[in-house]
Symmetry: C4
Subunit: 266 residues, 4 copies
Amino acid sequence: MPKESLDDLRYELALASRILAHEGVLDAFGHVSLRHPADPGRYFLPRSRSPELVEPADVLEYTLDSEPVKAPAERQFAERVIHGCIYEARPDVMAVCHHHAAAVMPFAIAGVPIVPVFHLGAAGGEDMPFWDQRDEFGDTNLLVVKPEEGRSLAQALGSHPAVLMNRHGATVVGRDIREMVSRAIFMCQNTQYQLQAHLLGKVVPLSSGETKLAGTINSMPTVTGRTWEYWTMRLDRAGMLPKGRVGSRKPPKPVARPVKAKRKRS
Amino acid sequence: MPKESLDDLRYELALASRILAHEGVLDAFGHVSLRHPADPGRYFLPRSRSPELVEPADVLEYTLDSEPVKAPAERQFAERVIHGCIYEARPDVMAVCHHHAAAVMPFAIAGVPIVPVFHLGAAGGEDMPFWDQRDEFGDTNLLVVKPEEGRSLAQALGSHPAVLMNRHGATVVGRDIREMVSRAIFMCQNTQYQLQAHLLGKVVPLSSGETKLAGTINSMPTVTGRTWEYWTMRLDRAGMLPKGRVGSRKPPKPVARPVKAKRKRS
Amino acid sequence: MPKESLDDLRYELALASRILAHEGVLDAFGHVSLRHPADPGRYFLPRSRSPELVEPADVLEYTLDSEPVKAPAERQFAERVIHGCIYEARPDVMAVCHHHAAAVMPFAIAGVPIVPVFHLGAAGGEDMPFWDQRDEFGDTNLLVVKPEEGRSLAQALGSHPAVLMNRHGATVVGRDIREMVSRAIFMCQNTQYQLQAHLLGKVVPLSSGETKLAGTINSMPTVTGRTWEYWTMRLDRAGMLPKGRVGSRKPPKPVARPVKAKRKRS
Amino acid sequence: MPKESLDDLRYELALASRILAHEGVLDAFGHVSLRHPADPGRYFLPRSRSPELVEPADVLEYTLDSEPVKAPAERQFAERVIHGCIYEARPDVMAVCHHHAAAVMPFAIAGVPIVPVFHLGAAGGEDMPFWDQRDEFGDTNLLVVKPEEGRSLAQALGSHPAVLMNRHGATVVGRDIREMVSRAIFMCQNTQYQLQAHLLGKVVPLSSGETKLAGTINSMPTVTGRTWEYWTMRLDRAGMLPKGRVGSRKPPKPVARPVKAKRKRS
């Protein structure tokens, strides 16, 4: 795989981290990873740093047992097993985000299931599983750091697009980075609307059929390309775009130049 | 109709799209259209693009069956039948906005009627109809793309200023672009206040008489002109005004130069 | 009274309008007035314009029957009788603000009394009266435009610091502009906290004694001077200060130069 | 202790004040102090000023009975006994913040206990005490200004990380400034999530063991260093960093140069 494509991928990963921070999914914490497009046994994850600050040069490469390919000088994310274990268990997944978004926390605390309540919320699927670290591991500091904790979480995720983690947050996956980013953002909107509909007295979710049909249309590149342009422009307007590709200062046009991996799949 | 007037109209449409995005009615999705002021059988709608990014040059012209007058190179909005079918059914309507504003979503999900709870909320009328796509079309992806879906929605709208779309959003109309923009923004405020009054224990709506009287005063050009100045200045301060008219970079003064159509009516 | 002092006063009034807009009390609508410091039979009110846009040059002078001293070229506020009638009825009042702040609307709609729930909320007094225009005037467009409507509102206000207007908004008064601005802003915070405490299950208000003591301390110039500095700096940071005094571009230092009237009273 | 270290400390204190203001813990009111790292009988507190405006040059030095070491020309905080009395009672405490954050007010008003509902909320401890000034002192203006009021509050705080003050606010402490800042910010997030989980119907707190384990990990320098970088960058992006050290304009790099005191402890 040409070096230039990997540079694009590092830029794309920094961009996704910053978009998710700017749109309120990530804050000081949370992390985003991408599977290596040419080597399914590896993935990319930034060094330990708030996602809004991630630069392409911060991106490290890992094997699926979450060991760095090259020993880094920088601090690494303690919870990187979340990513490794999910890539191990889910060959279809190309992008993962673990977060503590304010919008989903009330559901993760109350243990109330999130259901799709509007067409864009269908991206989260019909029923979203819960994973309570306490069930299997007793009292912990709630961080997912041991391989067995990562595997347990991946098992709870199953074939779903996301899993809620009690008293902790959520983990969202996608078949490409744009699908995952869209899913994470619309899942947050969905929970806000669900909470308020609940306060109005009645939550009427999408039917199974609607969830399937709306979920399909909303993960199509025509839709995720449009939201990607929108969120990128918002980030740009806020002066928060990542620096250009490693070794360069000029950012690639994100919409016009998807990374190689995506081109192959589409 | 002189080309210059159409340029003004394209600018006005881009401006309205951006105002509605900046004030929280539109986000990555949603769209705004204007009926052709000289040809009631045509309307203007931007190409498929997030409304905050729309430029005058993005505006396309359509016949009422939602076919483009000139085949465009760009992607078109899939839901443009919403606009065509409403212009067909409602000769009084000159502007349409379809949106998924966060403020109205809880009501669209809970199926709770929106009632006017403050004088500016009267712009939404006394009782706002619901349209549930599922009733007539069964399981869909919830997008309104077929002519029969558009016609069904227009029928539910009837002679009302707005219609709520279950698990999807809302569509708002107006006799001119400023009335429609005001209506859409104040409808969002109205629902936020209604939800919170509900949480306090009691929602006391305007009487029929108050709704009629307040609705009338608030759609007068003296009022919609003042809000238009306010929202335009806010957009300007955020650095988000559209580029100037097509073929020019200098934006027309939006308040001082209403489009021809409005001049005729006032 | 020297012309320079009136220029300062016009600047102060524009500044107060913009502070209240920037802090979320005013939006496209609402207005702020000041009694003439040397002539209690007159007051100052801007021309009809969104308060965030008011400049010193927009400020007009009125008699207490709300007639302009000099016939203005510009549009005037339709609701100016609110100000005239309150200055007529309340010789102690030097500043008035009428608003539809999002924070108070749920209470104005539900008819739930606002009670002081934290020390800064004591500025609103122990019990705040309601005024329902419908009671005396039947169905109206809810605007307060007739002298008898203004007088009725002033009567409901009585000797209180503020009055809630059902399905419309609120009107707040003060013995000087800074006291009134502080009161309006903290009243909004108070209602937000009261609503959320209600959702938690229990609203425990300040006692009568606490309300009196906290209300007294919080209207002292040492406190209102500090908040004035804070809100002015926030406005400045947002690039939203009014232009300098009429005929000049250099804004007076707001904290260091209170208008003459206040100097006399302190 | 070298003068340069105290300059760093003054800068750090101004930075913490501004971070807490920018992240929504402080507003026009509230204050932050630091114990003197070389002299446990003294502490540093800014002059009376909104925390978002504090500069290093505003920082004054106090003895534990809250008397200024040098009589200042500027106004002092009336509530400084909060700081002096807590430093007196709690030798382990190196930093104190008193605030009226919007997020905690509903709990301070309703008297509902705050419980840790997510891992980062564990920083507030398992059960947070209440202090009602009325209990011991009857009707007051709710300001904590007398030494006996300060001592009573410190007693209620006991060995806890924070104390809620009924109808007033909260006071948070830490073993260093970064721990205290993290604790204050995450305590606000915790209450917001707790309120919303309550609205969803069920609040499931962390177990005792989880609270202890998560509380420990989240006060480690690796975690508080990361959040400090994040909040500092956000402040910087907003153009709100304090001016450089006293006598200089160049701000020290906050992450790279912790004050001496912290170096010693780590």
